[in-house]
Symmetry: C2
Subunit: 169 residues, 2 copies
């Protein structure tokens, strides 16, 4: 949250303090808006992949999961924003529950639909695998953020694809 001061944001936007305050009465409003913006952008990208029928189901599902990883600069920035804000709001316990990710729910849904398409290995514990996959995704994202030189885009792509391959048959 280092530069996310009201003054810093106003300067970046080319506005005065008062002008910015005309649109966002408090800092929290401003940060919430930024967080929602990131969420909407990511959701839109995923919806686009979801709707694109030129890929086979398995490929499409893989691409969706890959979309959750910071494999390029743009997504890395979004991820940093999301991450910083999550930690920030985590510490103002008030009304944070409503702000939750939804990624876990999305993972479960995707695994379910993969299962209905008969893509998954039969012996899997789906609840367990959902939790593991969710952990792999955020773990890789976190490591790409903290150790960008060692854990880069190509590598996390490979690792996630490898993990998904272990779920499909």
């Amino acid at each position: 949250m280092e530069g996310a001061t009201v003054r810093g944001i106003a300067k970046e936007a080319g506005l005065s303090l008062g002008a910015l305050r005309h649109y966002f009465a408090t800092q929290d409003e401003l940060l919430m808006y930024a967080m929602q913006l990131v969420k909407e952008r990511a959701t839109a990208r995923i919806a686009e992949i979801s709707a694109n029928e030129k890929w086979a189901p398995k490929e499409r599902i893989t691409k969706i999961f890959l979309e959750l990883l910071p494999t390029n600069q743009e997504k890395m920035v979004e991820m940093e924003v999301w991450f910083a804000f999550t930690v920030y709001f985590r510490h103002k316990k008030d009304g944070f529950d409503a702000q939750h990710d939804g990624i876990y729910a999305a993972v479960r849904k995707l695994l379910d639909s993969a299962d209905q398409l008969n893509l998954l290995r039969k012996e899997l514990d789906k609840e367990m695998e959902a939790e593991k996959l969710y952990a792999v995704i955020d773990g890789l994202a976190l490591h790409a953020y903290l150790e960008p030189q060692r854990v880069n885009g190509e590598w996390i792509t490979k690792v996630l694809e490898h993990h998904l391959a272990s779920l499909f048959h």
Copy 2:
């Protein structure tokens, strides 16, 4: 880092500002010390498990990995500290490399020794599995931190044990 102000820490310690400053000239020194303290405590706990021969190797290795997860209140607090400080120092790029986890290296080492004891399934790509396991560990830890009600100690224990079982034969 909400309460980690110099004044806050001095008050918590029952010292005046000047007294605290006698031991830690700057805030960064203080935070670095706290970070190192957490690291030493965790390292000591792991060393203790490592040296305890009452467990079979597989069980021992499992216990070590479980030690990296915030399965109780104490470890959760340590993890929050570690986590907040990591993010904090990440943003002061200066001399952060030296402060790195070492968890990834530890995971690789443990997998190697498990392999030498013939505990691992033969067809595994060890580099890949180390990265995945590392991601699962930190992913679970992160989720336990952000969603403590859903992702609690027993559950992450179960999930990690399940994942380790998929590596052993």
